[in-house]
């Protein structure tokens, strides 16, 4: 068995690589000549919920997008369930940031969720009653079934986010990657989303979330991954989410009051 020695000196066996739903090695992404993500390794634990946190511009979303091939990377290797990504696309569901699309686009809520069945229905296949029914099921799970026929622009921000989540659910994937799903949403939406994510975990699925609210990390997640262009720390919330790692990731950008708050949360 071949051991890989990573940047920070830890080792991963090929075996642990094969078991991880998402294993990233040496990923570097640059905008122009400036690295946004530099030589990052990440090993997501199966069946658990992981938060990716870090200051603004630390490369959280960029890392996720590059891992999915949405944006090009300069170097790095990504394995999904131990295999190259292209063969595993059907097992991966991605929830992009809400702001990444035009909500005045002429489409209804149900149509957006049906996009999640794209791979299943195929390029030419007819959308049948069964597809509609399963799309409605997904909307029910996020509490949006009553909105199925609305134009998406008529929804509030939180509702739009839940529709995006419903689209990911429709894929019936094994690995869910969400980019800032809690950003700018109302309390009802946050509750609805976290309930769904926890139910996914209960079904044995793996959830990775780019997260910005440090106050809820310990409550929502099992693992935490801290990044500031380079990887800062990775591990279970109990051992890894503390003022030392946070200071390392956020540096001076963490206000004194925030640090105090965090000390209370993390004990």
């Amino acid at each position: 068995m071949l051991d890989l020695i990573c940047e920070d000196g830890t080792t991963f066996t090929e075996n642990s690589l094969a078991q991880s739903p998402l294993a990233i090695r040496g990923l570097t992404v640059t905008y122009g000549q400036k690295p946004a993500v530099f030589s990052v390794d990440m090993t997501v634990q199966p069946g658990e919920m992981t938060a990716i946190i870090g200051p603004n511009g630390a490369g959280k979303s960029t890392m996720l997008k590059a891992a999915l091939g949405v944006i090009p990377s300069v170097s790095g290797r990504v394995q999904v369930f131990g295999k190259p990504l292209p063969s595993q696309r059907a097992r991966v569901a991605y929830v992009p940031q809400r702001a990444s699309v035009d909500w005045d686009f002429p489409t209804r809520v149900i149509d957006v969720v049906l996009m999640g069945l794209y791979r299943q229905v195929g390029l030419l296949g007819r959308i049948r009653g069964q597809h509609r029914a399963s799309a409605l099921d997904c909307l029910t799970r996020v509490g949006m079934a009553d909105f199925a026929d609305r134009q998406i622009g008529q929804l509030s921000g939180g509702q739009q986010q839940r529709v995006f989540l419903a689209r990911a659910l429709a894929q019936n994937a094994d690995l869910y990657l969400l980019d800032e799903p809690f950003a700018g949403v109302d309390a009802a939406t946050e509750k609805a989303i976290i309930t769904v994510l926890k139910s996914l975990r209960a079904e044995g699925k793996t959830v990775v979330v780019v997260h910005h609210d440090l106050a809820t990390v310990a409550e929502y997640f099992d693992n935490v991954f801290l990044i500031n262009t380079r990887k800062v720390a990775e591990g279970p919330v109990e051992t890894t989410f503390n003022s030392v790692t946070l200071q390392a990731a956020y540096g001076g950008r963490l206000a004194a009051t925030q640090v105090e708050q965090l000390n209370q949360i993390t004990g």
Partner: protein, 401 residues
């Protein structure tokens, strides 16, 4: 004359032009909708202007080889090649330099068009071959249209439509959410390239009828027109095809009904007419509908505020409010509430409290979402649910007289 033209009674050539134009209009409208949804409408303008050098070079090559320089297929192949070069330059500028797409479009459009005009002038002044009619590619010319030309347009249009029918789902997904499409394993640059290829095809087959300067109108106007009428992309696409075909058919008919009426510009004007009609009169998204909606809303707000003021015994200062209340028989001329007025006021105040409770309840979110301060609570709750809320509020409040 116009009716004769629309009923295809104006002879062989006019019929050929009308049918060909309608097919082109449908293909352009449908292709253009995806371009519009992808927010790259202006790329079509760069592509169409980039065809001119190709047309001229193709003419020169064919004439110098001793053939007929005006062979339509040859000219269209030339135009497609140079449009491709223009598109490639545009992509390169956008992806590899820091130039924004709009600036790149401006640069490509003017450079290629300028080069084309130089070539055209050289051809005309040098008197190479039988060049008469070459300038028709600028604004379209249907005068000498042959059956084969019409066949070419029909075939090209049909092929475009078939390709779109086969790829519509990918085109829509990439237009709406390219990041998600990419994560789903769709090759977004390839789909974009396909979209541009289709635009190029429509442009090239439309050169003969509409000309390169106006073809962008056929791609874009039907799409924005159709957008007024539907909130569903599949319906917008079909409507755009319909509007495009109708405008082209009528425009070609009108131009055939009298001598010296240009076909392309008339088609564009017809299309613009449909656009103007939709802009003002479309339900829900139209300007008129918006004005009416706004006025109705304002009246409802005034009425509601008036009722709440009555219920709380506050004076009403606004004339519009008093007028509306009076007209509805809710207050007398002297501003005192009538019997019905007091009943309605009491109901308004009670509904206000019911909404307050409802909006605190997370389980009722879809209903609470509909709150606008005006809607009657009976439209969102069952009588049982209202009774449940009433139990929390207590007895109705007395209205001061």
């Amino acid at each position: 004359m116009i009716w004769d033209a629309l009923l295809l009674q104006l002879g062989y050539n006019a019929t050929l032009v009308s049918v060909g134009a309608a097919l082109l209009g449908a293909a352009a409208g449908i292709t253009g909708t995806f371009l519009f949804l992808r927010k790259r409408a202006l790329v079509a303008d760069a592509v169409s202007h980039a065809t001119l050098p190709g047309v001229c070079i193709a003419f020169l090559v064919m004439a110098s080889l001793g053939g007929d320089g005006r062979n339509l297929i040859g000219l269209l192949v030339g135009s497609a090649l140079s449009a491709w070069v223009g598109l490639w330059c545009l992509n390169w500028l956008t992806l590899r330099t820091r130039l924004a797409e709009d600036a790149a479009i401006g640069a490509i459009l003017s450079t290629f068009f300028g080069f084309g005009v130089v070539l055209l002038t050289v051809i005309q002044t040098a008197g190479i071959g039988r060049q008469a009619g070459l300038e028709g590619f600028l604004l379209g010319s249907t005068a000498g249209m042959l059956f084969n030309d019409a066949l070419l347009i029909a075939g090209g249009g049909a092929a475009t439509l078939v390709i779109i029918a086969l790829t519509r789902r990918a085109l829509t997904l990439v237009s709406f959410d390219p990041e998600y499409a990419s994560a789903q394993g769709i090759n977004v640059p390839q789909v974009d390239m396909l979209m541009m290829g289709l635009v190029m095809a429509v442009t090239v087959i439309g050169l003969k009828i509409v000309g390169l300067i106006l073809i962008v109108a056929l791609l874009i106007i039907p799409a924005v027109t159709a957008r007024f009428w539907s909130e569903r992309s599949d319906i917008v696409v079909l409507l755009a095809g319909l509007f495009g075909a109708a405008a082209a058919y009528v425009g070609a008919g009108v131009s055939a009904s009298a001598p010296n009426l240009p076909t392309g510009p008339l088609i564009v004007l017809m299309s613009a007419g449909l656009f103007a009609l939709s802009l003002f009169f479309a339900p829900s998204r139209g300007v008129l509908a918006a004005v009416i909606r706004q006025r109705r809303f304002q009246r409802r707000v005034h009425l509601r505020q008036g009722l709440l003021a009555l219920a709380q015994g506050q004076p009403i200062y606004e004339n519009l409010t008093l007028r509306l209340l009076g007209r509805a028989g809710l207050v007398r001329r002297d501003g005192v509430a009538t019997e019905t007025g007091r009943a309605r006021a009491a109901k308004a105040l009670r509904d206000e409290k019911r909404w307050e409770i409802l909006r605190r309840d997370h389980a009722q979110e879809p209903a609470a979402e509909l709150y606008d301060g005006l809607r009657a609570i009976e439209t969102v709750l069952t009588p049982d649910e209202i009774r449940e809320i009433d139990a929390k509020i207590g007895a109705p409040q007395e209205i001061p007289t």
